[in-house]
Amino acid sequence: MPVLTGVSFRLAPGEGLVLRGANGIGKTTLLRTVAGLQPPLSGTIEGAGERAGYASHADGIKPALTVAETLQFWADLYRAELPEDVFELFDLADLRDRSAGTLSAGQGRRLGLARLAVIGREVLLLDEPTVSLDAFSVKRFASFLRERHLARGGIAVIATHIDLGLDLPTLDLTPYRAAHDAAGGSDEAFL
């Protein structure tokens, strides 16, 4: 069943885009599609795929691993080096050897975001990255995005309900909401 139609954007290196729209408009769906986790009903996605790193509502944190082990694992899996400063960057230095299961909601979120700095992907797809973060951590994350990621030629697509303080172009998805007679979807054949 189509959720959004006619959405189209193209980002050059160093550019970011903020997705906005009411609950249930289809931000998560769009990000997952761009990440290649579900096929689009129609249209094409170019250039993402192998270059994209996706951060979902859930953080994929294993309670049994420590913070340091978690980040090391993702670095290994993506065949990247673990950057020295990632613990400072996401304010995790004190929590380095804490098992991830005992983190508070916001601390866990910071760990989930730190993963993105570790895997070294150029295209970051962020689904409400600042949920549960306090104001200070939000600022910190915004400056990470601006100075570390975008400044180095990365691309970011961010779905969010709150203002991150980044001056990025905003795409409001409301006008693209699929009309009732929109084509597409596996059930289409039965109409």
Binding site: M1, P2, A22, T174, R177, A178, A179, H180, D181, A182, G185, S186, D187, E188, A189, F190, L191
Partner: protein, 247 residues
């Protein structure tokens, strides 16, 4: 016009719909002839006595149990390769029919086993592989039922059907290796000398034709049901989408 045009649900329904009642009645008639003939107008066999009459239900259902799985395998392949919804739904529709056929073969066999072998159940290879087939049907149906998204369900059950078929053949050999059986050999094959006498053979053939027709009728009917159920889902979904956007 290509045969694939029948993969359109509407076209499939329009084409098959008129056939279903006829097939139903035809299969009922053929089955009635075969079964009445078999039950009332056949002699007793020397080794089996009157218990041979069970064969008129046992063998056709056993054949259809296997054929239903084969049909599901073909339909699954068509779905995986060409992604025609009707074919996935036909596989789904055939599974419960195959399950019941397997059950009938098992139950009649078990009842027959009591006087012939002195036991309800023996771990004979043919019996055992039918039991495994029964489990495959159960798992397949349960997987269909457990997955909410119909397309994902079609994909996953098709993969299961493929892998399951390979393992079903494997277990057939394994089971043969494991135990030498009590069961009748395939004396129905036409090229063998020890063919059953025509008095049994002809009504049995009629019954088999009846089972084939009944299977066809049921699968067409049930495929139609599945198509309509999907259509309900599609209409509801469209209605939900068309509800006014919140102010």
């Amino acid at each position: 016009m290509s045969i694939w045009s029948y993969a359109n649900p509407r076209k499939f329904l329009d084409t098959t719909e008129p056939w279903v009642p006829w097939l139903m009645w035809l299969s009922a008639a053929v089955l009635a002839v075969g079964l009445v003939w078999g039950f009332f107008f056949t002699p007793e066999a020397e080794r089996f006595g009157s218990s041979v009459k069970i064969i008129y239900l046992h063998v056709p259902s056993a054949l259809m149990a296997i054929n239903a799985w084969l049909m599901m395998l073909v339909a699954s392949l068509i779905w995986l390769i060409r992604r025609h919804h009707v074919s996935a739904l036909a596989a789904r529709a055939a599974a419960p029919v195959g399950l019941v056929m397997t059950l009938i073969a098992l139950v009649t066999g078990a009842i027959w086993g009591q006087p012939m072998w002195g036991t309800w159940w023996a771990w004979d290879p043919r019996l055992t592989s039918f039991l495994i087939l029964f489990l495959f049907y159960l798992g397949y149906i349960a997987l269909w039922a457990a997955i909410p998204d119909p397309d994902s369900a079609a994909d996953l059950t098709s993969v299961l059907c493929l892998v399951g078929s390979v393992f079903a053949v494997l277990s057939r050999y394994a089971v043969n290796f494991w135990n030498q059986g009590l069961h009748q050999g395939a004396s129905l094959s036409l090229d063998k000398q020890e063919n059953v006498a025509d008095v049994f053979w002809v009504p049995l053939l009629v019954c088999m034709a009846g089972f084939v027709l009944l299977f066809l009728a049921l699968v067409l009917l049930r495929t139609g049901t599945e198509i309509r159920a999907r259509r309900i889902g599609a209409l509801r979904a469209r209605a939900r989408r068309s509800e006014p956007v919140r102010a």
